[in-house]
Symmetry: C2
Subunit: 316 residues, 2 copies
């Protein structure tokens, strides 16, 4: 590891905001020469309680993240936040102003907030996000909140890479949206229903409870009772309960041995994602002539994509 | 290629619904022993006009797909439809009953409709979907409509793998949803606004037109005028115009040389996706002891995910 990297690592371990921010930008870029840095950061991480919050657009995730962060801070814990923004595959720019919306937490040096843009078609979102979490983890933040939209495989994977997963539902969303949500309901350790100052919320809570009764609690096979918690950012209802339930879950992970099981699953996922990235890189960095003629053959359909990929991986 | 595969290929080329359905199921499973089959299917495809329709949940994509399919059929063209369902990573089952909703087209043998489930965390959705399109293409369907939710990298990639992309917007969706949508707006060759019997639709049409005026037309650098088309499934408004615009776009792809450019981009994407799959497979099929100890080292954070992946790919 070179001097620049070791200075940056020292800064992160000292929880210096500028070092953290700089490393986050590098995680987002994902350049090969920063790999040694992220390997070191990874090895220094692993202590934080990582919490994934996911739900469909409009479910009130950001508001809940802010409320949770305030509660954790009030109890003396430091909080890191990584929010994945849906954004343009072209501009790469973040659209939602999470840093702005989180304004009231921004002056607090026990909180670090980062919005990450989703990436272009060459992947890297999952890796970048997980490395951002590693940075906050290595920096010693006690709790790390990871907010993702619960649609799309990568986004769901990012939520599943947390030790505890909260699925956020809002009352009264359309049918199409509920159908989308079905894909993520099963990864919930806790269901949080937002906007429970609204009357329709009762129905949503009842539906989720009904679903749990018939045994749709996919990931939880270790005796953890998945609960549905009614919350309201308006009235403050349920946020304490949610924090308490998250603490109970953290405790449960320890005592049941489930923490190790999940860490193993997360490790497996990260290795697979890294393998994908290695393969993409090999294709991209294959000798230009070889690569371009492979693409051209696939375009002309004289060669299929799988055979071409196999050749390119071999040649590099 | 074995006898089973060559019989299946013959069935597909003869457009036998049972052969097509069987091959679709195999595309969904993605077993290595079917690779030779899909290589052959790929080589026989490439003639269809593939059209991706994408938009946020609730935008009315399915209704539009059905309306388009009816119009294309009325003009004598055969139509294949692949709809990607948001569904459980656990059950793997489709949730939306597209085949049921498409009911009125179901008795027509010039139409083939397939809903595909999204897959587990090990990927394969994009490959499976693209192979499903190859099957319909090789079977000689004139037009192939690919319906995906416009959220999530894989889903956007699937839409971008079509020769023409229609982004569907509905009037009056929430802010959060509009933000998500921003990520896909730029891949549009045509914007279709649904539900234009509603008054709020005017605003949506005006906003999209405004966006186009300031030059946000990412993918279209070849002189194709991206248009906003107001449609209504209720009144039938705009559907003929949309079909006409799609035909114009197909013509434009030919005359401008853009068809070749896009096919090249699509080929590149498919090779990269195949490379990812090869890498995942290598990790998964590495010697059990080697693989498990790699995962365990990553879990214990003595090794980082990238280094572990590199070792596993090398060892297999």
């Amino acid at each position: 590891m070179d001097k620049g990297h070791s200075d940056l690592l020292d800064g992160i371990l000292a929880r210096a905001p500028r070092s953290i921010a700089k490393a986050m930008s590098r995680a987002e870029i994902g350049a090969p020469h920063d790999r040694a840095l992220f390997a070191k950061i990874y090895q220094r991480a692993g202590q934080a309680h990582t919490i994934g919050l996911t739900g469909v657009p409009g479910s009130g995730k950001s508001t809940m993240v802010r409320a949770l962060a305030q509660k954790f801070r009030a109890s003396g814990r430091t909080v890191g936040i990584v929010a994945i923004d849906p954004s343009s595959p072209f501009s790469g720019g973040a659209i939602l102003g999470d840093r702005v919306r989180m304004g009231e937490l921004a002056g607090d040096d026990g909180v670090f907030i980062r919005s990450m843009a989703t990436r272009g078609s060459l992947g890297g979102l999952t890796r970048g996000c997980m490395e951002a979490v590693d940075i906050l983890d290595a920096a010693g933040f006690d709790v790390i909140l990871i907010e993702t939209v619960g649609v799309g495989q990568d986004e769901v994977d990012i939520a599943r890479a947390a030790l505890s997963v909260v699925v956020v539902s809002a009352p009264g969303l359309g049918d199409d949206i509920q159908a989308i949500k079905a894909g993520v309901l099963e990864i919930a350790d806790i269901h949080a229903v937002s906007k429970c100052d609204r009357k329709e919320a009762e129905k949503t809570v009842a539906e989720l409870n009904g679903m749990l009764t018939i045994g749709l609690s996919g990931r939880n096979r270790q005796g953890w009772p998945v609960r549905v918690i009614a919350t309201s950012a308006q009235t403050g209802q349920g946020i304490d309960d949610l924090v308490k339930n998250l603490e109970d879950h953290q405790q449960h992970l320890e005592t049941s041995g489930e923490r190790t099981t999940r860490q193993h699953e997360i490790a497996e996922m990260r290795v697979l994602k890294a393998a994908e990235e290695i393969a993409r890189e090999r294709v991209i960095t294959a000798h230009e002539n070889v690569r371009d003629s492979a693409f051209e053959n696939v375009r002309k359909r004289t060669v299929d994509p799988y055979s071409a990929a196999l050749e390119l991986i071999k040649s590099s």
